[in-house]
């Protein structure tokens, strides 16, 4: 692969691509190109057509109209296999790896080197895997079981898998949604290595700051149409957001609530311990406050939330809600005490996927609609309709299932659930994960409204701009302890990051009294 000093060659060019599904025109005359040795970011809200575009590039969908030119010649993929053989590899969010097999076996799945008897040549496979991992520049034992690796290492295995063939185009679909900041840095380094080797990379992410860190060009899609393609160096964040949602950045976060320091907190946590993840956490949350809980993935933030809510047992420590001890919490008791918990894992721990919107919204407060155990279904539906209207949830009606809703609308269902059920404290664990920018704006406004109504809100987030934009006070955790607290004007991304990566805290600052 020779990178010419002149204009780099165009690796893939789509011309006037349209694709319709029953009832939806997913792509409408989209043109798009990406060059060799370029990282090209693809941006757009959920439903903008990114996935459809990727699947057309990968040969999983056949476009209704338009042409695909790949590496200089016009192609019409008959199957994903054909696109793959031509040198296109897609790394999806859900990794397609076999957890019980070794790294080497995964890398060579389907084309393992054979010895002359036709058996798998294990030593050749190990050597090959080592060589490929070397090319990615990643230290990994090729004998290790993939299931025992971190998600970040598993992504490297996926990339290594792509490199077993002559790869020309690599598509990464939101790889950083599942890994922490430091792991993302590593991934970006590997991407840069591939770029230098002349590979064309198409990168999808919801995180704008990543686009500015790594991408050369960015293409924005909206409602199935191509909005713009720009050099990243020539635009700023605000322009990007405006292109995506037609709103400017200053509209995203509502004004922060004032700092609260009234003496009686709604929630007090003291000396919380839950080995091995949480070794000492104390803090107070006040009515009407939006308190951030920051830290890298694995710092123990979610565990703290689960301990307060009672879904994971704690070893020791005291929890007080409005002056009343809440020391043997169960989810039911916590809800009855006025606590709501919107979990990080929407699909596994949040939504009741097989039930309808009304049942999902009413779940924690179902007794409100029951007399002697008999459900008043029409009252439940009526209430759900009100919530659906109030939160602008795009769902056909209260008796529609929630499975097919977009991430943003699913999250709004959960917001409706917890705002109905809780009246004192709301814990939000990654409230905007996998949600598009438009829905994010609405969710931020909901959080703000709840705080204004006097509810104490604890926000756990890996997205620093989110914490900085929302919270008037942020406590930071690292490896199970609170390393510090920032409030007011001092809430900045650098201040939080410094505390989150701080090595040995000299003294643990006590929470404000």
């Amino acid at each position: 692969m020779v990178a010419s000093s002149a204009e780099p060659r165009v690796m893939i060019a789509l011309e006037g691509i349209s694709k319709s599904f029953p009832g939806v025109k997913s792509l409408d005359g989209v043109s798009f190109d990406a060059k060799a040795g370029e990282i090209h970011a693809l941006l757009g809200e959920n439903g903008a057509g990114k996935s459809t575009l990727i699947k057309i590039i990968a040969g999983a969908y056949v476009p209704d109209e338009g042409t695909i030119r790949f590496d200089g010649s016009e192609r019409a993929w008959a199957s994903p296999r054909e696109a793959k053989d031509a040198g296109i590899h897609v790394i999806y969010q859900e990794l397609l790896l076999f957890p019980e097999l070794s790294v080497a076996e995964n890398i060579f799945i389907g084309n393992a080197p054979r010895d002359r008897f036709g058996f798998v040549d294990h030593s050749a496979m190990l050597r090959g895997a080592e060589a490929i991992l070397g090319r990615v520049g990643h230290q990994l034992d090729p004998r290790a079981k993939v299931g025992s690796l971190s998600v970040a290492d598993q992504q490297m295995v996926e990339i290594a898998k792509a490199l077993t063939s002559d790869i020309k185009l690599l598509v990464l679909d939101e790889p950083t949604a599942v890994i922490s900041g430091r792991e993302a840095d590593l991934l970006f380094d590997r991407m840069k290595t591939l770029r230098k080797a002349g590979v064309c990379l198409i990168y999808i992410s919801h995180r704008l700051e990543e686009i500015f860190r790594i991408a050369d060009r960015v293409t924005v899609l909206k409602d199935g149409r191509h909005v713009a393609t720009r050099n990243v160096a020539e635009i700023d964040r605000d322009t990007l957001v405006t292109m995506m949602v037609g709103r400017s950045l200053s509209d995203i976060f509502p004004a922060k609530p004032p700092l609260v320091s009234e003496p009686a907190p709604v929630l007090s946590v003291r000396d919380l311990r839950m080995p091995p993840r949480v070794s000492n956490v104390s803090f107070d949350l006040h009515a009407g406050e939006i308190l951030g809980l920051a830290g890298l993935v694995g710092a123990g933030r979610s565990e703290v939330a689960h301990a307060i809510f009672g879904s994971i047992p704690k070893e020791s420590g005291t929890i007080t809600i409005c002056g009343i001890a809440h020391n043997i919490p169960t989810p039911r008791a916590s809800i009855d005490a006025g606590l709501g918990f919107l979990t990080e894992d929407r699909k596994g721990e949040g939504l009741l996927m097989l039930l309808d919107a009304a049942a999902n919204i009413s779940a924690p407060a179902l007794q409100e609609f029951a007399h002697f155990g008999l459900l008043n279904r029409s009252a439940e539906i009526k209430s759900a309709s009100d919530e659906i209207a109030h939160f602008h949830i795009a769902v056909r009606g209260p008796t529609t299932g929630v499975k097919a809703l977009s991430g943003g609308n699913q999250q709004k269902i959960l917001f409706a659930r917890w705002t109905r059920a809780c009246h004192r404290i709301l814990i939000l664990d990654e409230p905007t994960r996998g949600v598009d920018v438009g829905a994010k704006v609405e969710i931020y406004r909901m959080i703000h409204d709840l705080a204004a109504a006097g509810i104490g809100i604890l926000v756990i987030s890996s997205e620093l701009p989110e914490l900085v934009g929302l919270c008037s006070r942020v406590i930071v955790m690292r490896e199970g302890i609170v390393t510090g607290e920032v409030c007011g004007e001092a809430v900045t991304e650098t201040a939080i990051m410094r505390l989150a990566t701080k090595d040995a805290p000299a003294a643990v600052p006590s929470p404000v009294a």
Binding site: L352, L354, H392, R396, G397, N409
Partner: protein, 318 residues
């Protein structure tokens, strides 16, 4: 995504219900064609009568499967109920009603124990209920190896009696279906059963007391098993330690044929009722053409595998 307009659909019919109804209709058509005695009132009443024990156990199994579990102790509870009921009464006619209440309670308690162990230990219900079945079977065989006991003649009415020209056992079965259906669709407990079966962790985190739900469904299954046991005592006049043997698997067939998802969270009692009728009509027809009981087992095994292959693509675990 733009807001979706349009009326909210109030009711959707599960495809499984349509399929099983069509099969049932086809079987009845075959029956009418094959034998002129099939469509007589007398025969149809017999079908209903004989459907009752299967109906009872399948109802319990429906609740358990909907809540994400499975109950393999049904056969043992049925057998235990027959011998304890007949053995306790053993000619003392005045003991009939107290013994009946006691046995129904015993079945409920055994089921409750299944539920407690399952929800407290997290051990797979397959193991828990097979284990409790072994314990119960052992106790029953210690008590008696032979069919035993004697109940008053009037108790035969449960199996053979008529009220308003309809079989009492069939009426009890229908009433039980209505009650279970009401629990499932009209109470918060029913909602919790669907929630726990579909997504135990999400249900727990939305404040549903999942352990109580689990205890309830196994206890209900134990109760219905004991009720089936009482039916057999009524029909045979004695208790038989081997009577429940084939009923455990048989209890699962109509549930799955009726479209309830193995693994929980989706399905219902209407499908089970149709499944019970389907299997009862099928057995009745096979009797007409003089097929041996063992062939009927073969047919049932094939039906259960077919049902799971057709409707079970959405099943989650187990």
């Amino acid at each position: 995504m733009p807001a979706i307009a349009g009326p909210a659909r109030r009711f959707t019919v599960e495809p499984a219900l349509i399929v099983v109804t069509l099969f049932l209709a086809a079987l009845i058509a075959v029956g009418v064609a094959v034998s002129d005695r099939f469509a007589t009132t007398r025969n149809l009443v017999t079908v209903l009568e004989q459907a009752a024990p299967l109906g009872f156990v399948a109802m319990g199994q429906t609740l358990v499967i909907l809540a994400g579990g499975i109950d393999f102790s049904i056969g043992a509870i049925v057998a235990g109920s027959t011998v304890f009921l007949a053995g306790l009464v053993n000619g003392h006619d005045d003991l009939m009603l107290p013994a009946l209440a006691g046995v129904l309670m015993l079945g409920t308690v055994v089921g409750l124990a299944n539920g407690i162990v399952t929800s407290r230990t997290g051990v797979h219900p397959l193991i828990v209920t097979l284990g409790s079945a072994a314990v119960l079977n052992g106790l029953v065989l210690l008590y008696t190896l032979q069919p035993t006991g004697k109940v008053p003649v009037w108790f035969e009415d449960f199996a053979f009696g008529r009220a308003l020209g309809l079989p009492i056992s069939g009426l009890v079965m229908a009433a039980s279906f209505v009650v279970v259906g009401l629990i499932l669709w009209k109470t918060s407990l029913g909602r919790a059963i669907f929630a726990v079966g579909g997504h135990p962790e999400a249900a727990r985190l939305s404040g549903i007391r999942t352990d109580r739900v689990t205890m309830f469904v196994y206890a209900a299954s134990g109760f219905f098993s004991a009720l089936a046991g009482a039916y057999f005592v009524s029909r045979m006049g004695i208790g038989d330690p081997r009577v429940g043997e084939s009923l455990t698997l048989a209890s699962i067939t109509p549930v799955l044929v009726g479209g309830t998802m193995l693994g929980g969270g989706r399905g219902g009692v209407l499908g089970t009722l149709l499944g019970v009728l389907l299997i009862s009509v099928l057995n009745n027809l096979l009797n007409y053409i003089n097929v041996s009981t063992f062939i009927q087992w073969v047919v049932q095994g094939l039906i259960i595998i077919a049902a799971v292959s057709i409707f079970g693509s959405g099943s989650k675990r187990l």
